[in-house]
C-alpha cells in the first residue's frame, strides 16, 4: 500500500513540482526582491491574500537576517534563495554566508522586559507566520527553511507549466 501511495505521490510531484533558486547580493534590494518573489510564488501556489502577506513577510524577515546579521552587507557574500512548490507545500530556503546564528541568544520578544526593544522580532514573526521553520548551520553560514502547507494540499486547481 505504501508503495502505491509513494508511486502516485512521486508522479504527482513530478507533474507539479517547481524549483527556482536565486543567488543575490547582500543588499537592501535583495530584501525587497525576496519579498516580491515570495509574494509571486505564494499567489501562484493558491494561498489566500492574508497568507500571501504572511509568507512574503516571513521571507522578507529571513532575507533581512541573511543580509544584515548574516552577511553584514558584505559585497563578497551572497544570499541564496530557493522556492520549491509541490502539491503539498511551498518551501522556501534562504542561506547566507555569515558567522552563524545562535538561537539561544535570541531573547523572547514577548517577555515584558523586551517589549520595548527596537529589534529582535524577526525570527518570532517568521515562526508566527509559517507552518514549519528550521534554522540550522549550513556549509557556508546559516540556512533557514520555511514551509507553508498549500491550502487543500491536493494540488487541485494548479497546473504544471512543464
Amino acid at each position: 500500500m505504501a508503495e502505491v501511495e509513494g508511486a502516485l505521490f512521486r508522479e504527482h510531484v513530478a507533474m507539479t513540482e517547481q524549483r527556482v533558486s536565486y543567488t543575490l547580493d547582500s543588499t537592501l534590494e535583495t530584501v525587497d526582491s525576496a519579498e516580491q518573489a515570495a509574494c509571486r510564488f505564494a499567489t501562484e501556489a493558491g494561498f489566500a491574500d492574508d497568507e500571501v502577506m504572511q509568507i512574503s513577510m516571513a521571507v522578507r524577515e529571513a532575507a533581512v537576517n541573511a543580509v544584515l546579521h548574516g552577511n553584514a552587507y558584505d559585497p563578497g557574500k551572497k544570499v541564496k534563495l530557493e522556492f520549491e512548490t509541490n502539491s503539498r507545500d511551498l518551501v522556501i530556503t534562504i542561506c547566507d554566508q555569515g558567522k552563524g546564528l545562535d538561537l539561544g541568544k535570541i531573547p523572547d520578544p514577548l517577555a515584558p522586559e523586551n517589549l520595548l526593544k527596537t529589534s529582535g522580532r524577526g525570527i518570532f514573526l517568521i515562526r508566527s507566520f509559517m507552518d514549519e521553520v528550521q534554522i540550522r548551520p549550513s556549509q557556508t553560514g546559516t540556512e533557514i527553511k520555511l514551509v507553508k502547507h498549500v491550502p487543500g494540499s491536493s494540488g487541485t486547481g494548479k497546473e504544471a507549466s512543464q
Binding site: V31, E61, V64, L68, P109, L110, T118, S119
Partner: protein, 114 residues
Amino acid sequence: MSMKTSTRLVDGVAIVDCSGRITLGEGSVILRDTVRELLSKGQKKILLNLGDVTYIDSSGIGELVSAFTTVRNQGGELKLLNLTKKVHDLLQITKLYTVFDVKDDEAAAVKAYK
C-alpha cells in the same frame, strides 16, 4: 510604494499622516527623522496616523517602538491613529497593542492629550 509623511497641527497636537511602507531602510529612516524633527522643535504631542500605511516589517515595528520611547523620554506623548488590519494584527501578535495608545477617531485622539 515608499514611505511618505506630512504633518499638520491640530490644537497643539502634531498629526503625522503616514503613507506607504514602514520597512527597513528608507521607510524607517523617514519616520525616525520626522519624529526627531518635531521633538527638536519642542513639539511633544505627536499622533501618528497610520491609516494609509500599507505594510510594516519588524524594522518598522522597531521604529514605532523607538519613536514611542524617544517621545516619552522627553516628557511627551506619542499615540497611534487609524491602524489598518495588518498593522493592528502585527501589534497584537507582538504584544505591543496594549503598549501603544491606539485611537481610531482623530478628534477624540487630539482631545486625549494632556
